[in-house]
């Protein structure tokens, strides 16, 4: 069930063929009418359950039933931004229909600003509680880390709704921002989310997508490493069970010189119809000399009837890079790991639980905030406790 990785590397000019569509050439527009309703044949929808997602393709505003709370420590400033009010739209340009609908139909965007040189003592927590499976919601969130600021934003999604959401992330020079988006929806929630980030010189972004609950959850993060020496760590962890479809299309654009990116998404799947889709695109642009980039996706398929699709793509437009690589692996339990644990007295069921926990905990280990790391491991443990492997 391993999907062969595909690579796009520059071919000699004479034989170069124009690709069907590279990630950087995806159309962008703020007008929903510019995006036809997806049929499932489009490159960015071909692995998505478009019929289940149909409610998110209706060009209509939300009903306002979702509850938003933003808990931010000093000196963070929290406010709203009308359409066209800077910095809303300075970085974000929708790339698909739900995102364009969210962009056009959200009157007031939430704005969270870390002022210049602010160093937060605790994370900012943005919580969304859905208004019910029949409700609908659009949202636009602007997370702005001004120059030299350091902080963490946790974005939690719970309950049920049908949410089209945009997250616009602006990271100023030398700022270090961590964004953790947690999807713990009820089983009937639909969620299409596009995160777009731009990093200035010397800025860093650690971006983590945690998806444990929801019916169809599609979180597509993209990052523009515009400033020299900017760097991104893009991580994801998910656990899909019967009937759940969890998807992430990750895009890293090495735009400026000496930029670095590390992408790692890990997913466990179990039960009939459990499905995960990961498409990872890395583009190293012509000015991105001295770039170092790595992307990987690993999936653990725990039972029959579950399916993981994994497609890494790497496009390099400069000859002068420090390193670039990608990896993709989808497998079942490693029998040797189970044997090792069982040979130490651990019963099979617990050995399996420990192997899955360890597999997913690798992402938690990369989150530097200890309290968040513990919370994520506890969430993984709770998810495992619910499931019978």
């Amino acid at each position: 069930m391993t999907t062969a990785p595909t690579t796009t590397a520059p071919a000699p000019a004479a034989t170069r063929v124009v690709p069907v569509q590279t990630r950087s050439e995806r159309p962008r527009s703020t007008d929903p009418a510019d995006f036809a309703t997806p049929t499932g044949r489009e490159v960015d929808w071909k692995l998505s359950p478009v019929e289940r997602l149909a409610p998110l393709f209706e060009d209509a505003p939300g009903d306002g039933s979702a509850r938003w709370t933003i808990d931010a420590p000093e000196p963070v400033r929290v406010g709203t931004l009308a359409a066209g009010q800077s910095p809303r739209g300075s970085v974000f340009e929708p790339e698909d229909r739900p995102s364009a609908i969210a962009f056009a139909r959200t009157a007031q965007a939430h704005h969270v600003l870390l002022p210049e040189a602010a160093a937060l003592e605790r994370p900012i927590v943005v919580s969304v509680e859905g208004g019910g499976a029949e409700s609908r919601e659009t949202a636009h969130l602007v997370l702005e880390a001004a120059a030299g600021s350091v902080g963490t934003v946790v974005l939690r999604h719970e309950g049920s709704t049908r949410l089209a959401e945009n997250v616009e992330i602006v990271v100023g020079a030398g700022a270090a921002l961590t964004v953790i988006a947690v999807q713990q929806w009820a089983d009937d929630a639909l969620h299409a989310s596009a995160h777009q980030a731009r990093l200035a010189e010397g800025a860093s972004l650690r971006h983590v997508v945690v998806t444990f609950g929801g019916g169809v959850v599609r979180v597509n993060p993209s990052v523009d490493l515009a400033g020299a020496r900017s760097e991104a760590e893009m991580y994801g962890v998910s656990y899909a069970d019967a009937g759940q479809h969890f998807e992430s299309q990750v895009y890293v654009f090495h735009h400026g010189p000496e930029t670095r990116a590390d992408v790692l998404y890990k997913g466990a799947l179990q039960g009939v119809g459990a499905r995960s889709v990961w498409i990872g695109d890395v583009l190293i642009g012509p000015e991105a000399t001295g770039t170092d980039s790595y992307e990987a996706n690993r999936n653990l398929v725990l039972t029959d009837g579950a399916r993981a699709d994994s497609i890494p793509n790497l496009e390099i437009e400069t000859g002068d890079i420090a390193g670039a690589g990608h990896a993709s692996a989808t497998g079942r339990f490693d029998d040797e790991q189970l044997f090792y644990l069982q040979a130490r007295g651990v019963p099979e069921a617990e050995a399996k639980r420990l192997v899955v926990l360890g597999f997913l905990a690798e992402i938690a280990q990369r989150i530097p905030v200890e309290s968040l790391q513990e919370e994520l491991i506890a969430a993984i443990e709770a998810e495992l406790a619910k499931e019978v492997v």
Partner: protein, 257 residues
Amino acid sequence: MSTATPSQLVIRDLRVSIDTEQGSKPILKGVDLTLTSGEIHAVMGPNGSGKSTLAYTIAGHPRYRVDGGSIELDGQDVLAMSVDERARAGLFLAMQYPVEIPGVTVSNFLRTAKTAIDGEAPAIRGWTSGVREAMEKLRMDPSFAARNVNEGFSGGEKKRHEILQLELLKPRFAVLDETDSGLDVDALRIVSEGVNRAHQETGLGILLITHYTRILRYIQPDFVHVFVDGTVAEEGGPELAERLEDEGYDRYLAARA
């Protein structure tokens, strides 16, 4: 602490095969061996003679199919037990190639194993200091506890970690599968001291599997068994190991040819 009533691990006429692309291949062709607690047995032999197959069959690795014979631990049928039941019954295998387990820290792993073996969680305070002391004696840096099991460990670190488990889990019988392979002189001495410590403290029985006589300078065997082509070709006391040191396995192989 030496056990009042000695335990026995009795292997009789053990025949084992593995599945290969060319079909089923017999590896062990009738092995008899009896270990009593407190004893150290060395199993020696050339590559491919079935030494590791014996180790993995005792531990219950699913790759090895038992075609006949028996393994009994104090009268209990070991072959009827699952892998984890064997470990809880007191059998331990120090592996030649310990497996990496990403995301599971050594400290979590050791506590989980100890809890499984003992049937209850160890008292936190005594356990933590016990682990630290055992690590110190094996010259393992305290930072080891926070690393993921065997991930990025050097060959020597993996073997120390195996012996650390031997010392902490306190089995009745331990099979050491080529624990000496890939160790430099210092590491070999440190690891051997760990084995001897466990032997003195708990009086366990040891089946020491090795290709070379080198480790027997540090761990003195009571008995030596020479494996050739899936059977025990010769048995004796420690003097047999000395003879192998001088002569190698050639005379057994020549006798077969």
